[in-house]
């Protein structure tokens, strides 16, 4: 088990290093000279050279990369070209919003998706399954932004049940924070919930017709124990995989959802940075997104080994 962990940790670290290379080169490959963009009116060769020297752009690329890596390792992502605010301090305000929104969306989607999936499999061919399938189809095919707008229209503007936009930090007012985030999280989680439901349903149908479920029934276990301890536990591998794979979609979904609900998160920061060509911010955003993917994949692999003992041993032997 510990060997498996170490192997996976190394792999993750390597992937992370590679992604910094890609981000670094990617930004430098973008058309346009950042010195020109920064120079503004004064485009004299001396002024440009001064700017290049100030930002270290006159150094060879490997040296630039080493410096960049050193700064990133210390949490220094540079300053926003537009506002001069350190990117790290922009992130400290924006990231918690997005992390909270995503975690909440995943929790809601997993609870709804797994619950409906199990129900659909157990009540196969009955109204409960048709309802779950119908809702999943709606969840998959209706775009977030439209669903978000509908929710604002009916649940916020018309009835006033939820605030239409804005955000309260968790530390200031936990209830208000949740009140602001529930609606966006549900909207963000609908697609994921639908996918989880369908995968759970098919995985459950497989396990319910398996030999070990027959054994469990032959032991005289109650249906609830057969479903939860035997069938569901074996289906969870699929669910964890799906959640891991879909997180990319969730992050891009968060960008749109934050925009609709006016949440001051990572997504909104990204959109603003792209529109304003704020390179240091874009660079930080891309790197953080990549890191999030890598960390999540690592966690998914860890979860696998918790759920399925066969993976633990296979990894340990490798």
């Amino acid at each position: 088990m510990s060997r498996y962990l170490i192997t996976r940790a190394w792999q993750s670290a390597l992937t992370l290093l590679l992604s910094t290379v890609v981000v670094f080169l990617g930004v430098r490959a973008l058309p346009g000279d950042p010195a020109l963009a920064l120079a503004g009116e004064d485009r004299s060769p001396e002024a440009l050279a001064a700017i290049r020297h100030h930002y270290g752009l006159d150094q060879p690329l490997p040296l630039q990369f080493a410096r960049y890596l050193g700064r990133v390792a210390q949490g220094d992502f540079g300053e926003s070209i537009r506002t001069g605010v350190p990117v790290s301090s922009m992130l400290t305000t924006a990231l918690p919003v997005t992390v909270e929104l995503s975690v909440l969306a995943i929790l809601i989607a997993t609870a709804l998706g797994v619950g409906a999936g199990v129900l659909a499999a157990v009540r196969r061919g009955r109204p409960a399954e048709w309802l779950a399938n119908g809702l999943a189809l709606v969840g998959l095919s209706v775009p977030h932004f439209w669903l978000g707008l509908l929710a604002i229209l009916y649940l916020s503007v018309a009835t006033g049940l939820f605030p239409a936009s804005g955000f309260v930090p968790l530390g200031d007012d936990p209830v208000g924070n949740l009140h602001h985030l529930v609606l966006p999280a549900v909207i963000l989680g609908t697609g994921l919930a639908a996918i989880i439901m369908r995968q759970t349903r098919s995985a459950m149908l497989d396990s319910l017709s398996s030999d070990y479920v027959r054994t469990a029934k032959a032991k005289g276990l109650r249906p609830r124990a057969v479903i939860s301890r035997h069938a569901l536990r074996n289906s969870l591998i699929v669910v964890v995989t799906i959640v891991g794979l879909q997180l990319g979609g969730l992050i891009s979904g968060a960008v749109v959802t934050e925009q609709i609900f006016g949440l001051p998160g990572f997504g909104k920061m990204t959109i603003d940075a792209v529109f304003q060509r704020d390179y240091p911010v874009i660079q930080a955003v891309v790197l953080l997104t990549a890191t999030a993917y890598i960390v999540i994949n690592f966690l998914v692999d860890l979860l696998y080994s918790v759920i399925d003992p066969r993976i633990r041993v296979a990894g340990g032997a490798a």
Partner: protein, 350 residues
């Protein structure tokens, strides 16, 4: 072994049956209409006897076994009677059947790899039945699981109890299945092809465990197989099924020495016997396949594959009745039973 078999056979004739099956019929609703799988099966299991249920694939032996504790899917329609020490099980509520399953009637299945849950330790899986039926704590159930593992001959049971199925060999997994099945001391153990997926050497070990259980705990065992060698090895009595019906029922030595039904005779000459088939004599196959029946006809279902079939066989189903063999409890459902004695009785005796 012959002493044990004699003891079992004696028990079969004297003791009141543990399990009485009367006119058991099972049919399945399918998209192509109804399919009849089991037709008027009548069977008694005496305490401590090992009964072999033989037949080709699709003859209804597994369906018969699963229907005993109501384990068939919802698409099955079951009629007739299954009585466990006088208590009717057919049509009984699920909650009552749940108390029977694992506690009174336990099962061992063919594929020990897929029949064990891959994500739970074997100790946990053995302990589950104890936790449900004996109201044991998880810790007590685990301790009992260690004892059960040693009962079925698993070395170092105290460490094996925390193993997952994939860490065990095929033979050990099947021993785990047996330990799980006998955890609550069931009256009847139904073993559905328990050795089919295993090596021949491992098979012998598993059959020995089953015999030991009968001798030590007095468990009644219904062993389902298509392997006549297994039957010859462990069974006291044999029931031969064909196309959902019992076609012959006899003590094991009698059946092997003097098969009366044409189908049984065909089965016996289709399996190799040392000495007889070693030389020039070829194995005889039974022509044709087991028919799939939407309804049970009033005729012998074996008639189309039988060398002795005539008009009567195709117009009336032969009853299962004593055929006047050496043993009084030798029954066959055949209008034209094989003449007795057979040509080589000595070689076919187990």
């Amino acid at each position: 072994m012959t002493v044990v078999q004699a003891a079992g056979a004696a028990a079969a004739t004297t003791g009141a049956p543990v399990l009485e099956v009367r006119d058991l019929c099972v049919s399945f609703r399918t998209e192509g209409g109804s399919v009849s799988a089991v037709d008027r099966v009548t069977l008694d299991l005496a305490p401590g006897e090992i009964v072999g249920l033989v037949g080709e694939s699709g003859c209804g032996k597994s369906v018969t076994a699963m229907s005993l504790a109501g384990l068939l899917p919802d698409s099955a329609r079951v009629s007739g009677s299954v009585r466990l020490e006088g208590t009717e099980l057919v049509g009984t509520r699920e909650s009552v059947l749940r108390r029977v399953r694992g506690k009174e009637i336990a099962y061992i299945f063919q594929e020990p790899m897929t029949s064990l849950n891959p994500v739970l330790t074997v100790g946990r899986q053995i302990g589950e039945a104890l936790q449900v039926h004996e109201r044991m704590s998880r810790r007590a159930a685990r301790a009992r699981a260690v004892e059960l593992l040693s009962l079925v001959g698993i070395p170092s049971p105290a460490t094996r109890v925390d193993n997952y199925p994939h860490q065990l060999s095929g033979g050990m997994r099947q021993r785990v299945m047996i330990a799980m099945a006998v955890a609550c001391g069931p009256k009847v153990l139904v073993a559905d092809e328990p050795t089919t997926a295993l090596d021949v050497t491992v098979q012998a070990g598993i059959l020995k465990v089953l015999r030991d259980l009968r001798d030590r705990l007095g468990t009644t065992i219904l062993i389902i197989t298509h392997d006549l060698g297994v039957i010859a090895d462990v069974a006291d009595r044999v029931v031969v099924m064909y196309a959902g019906r019992i076609v012959e029922r006899a003590p094991v030595t009698d059946l092997f020495a003097h098969p009366r039904h044409r189908y049984t005779a065909g089965l016996l000459s289709a399996s190799p016997t040392p000495g007889v088939h070693a030389g020039s004599q070829r194995l005889q196959e039974i022509p044709g396949l087991v028919p799939v029946l939407s309804s049970q006809p009033d005729a012998c279902t074996f008639a189309d594959r039988c060398p002795a079939a005539d008009a009567r066989c195709r117009s009336a189903a032969p009853p299962l009745e004593p055929v006047g063999s050496t043993a009084a409890d030798h029954l066959a459902a055949c209008w034209h039973p094989c003449p007795t004695p057979r040509t080589q009785p000595e070689e076919t005796t187990p």
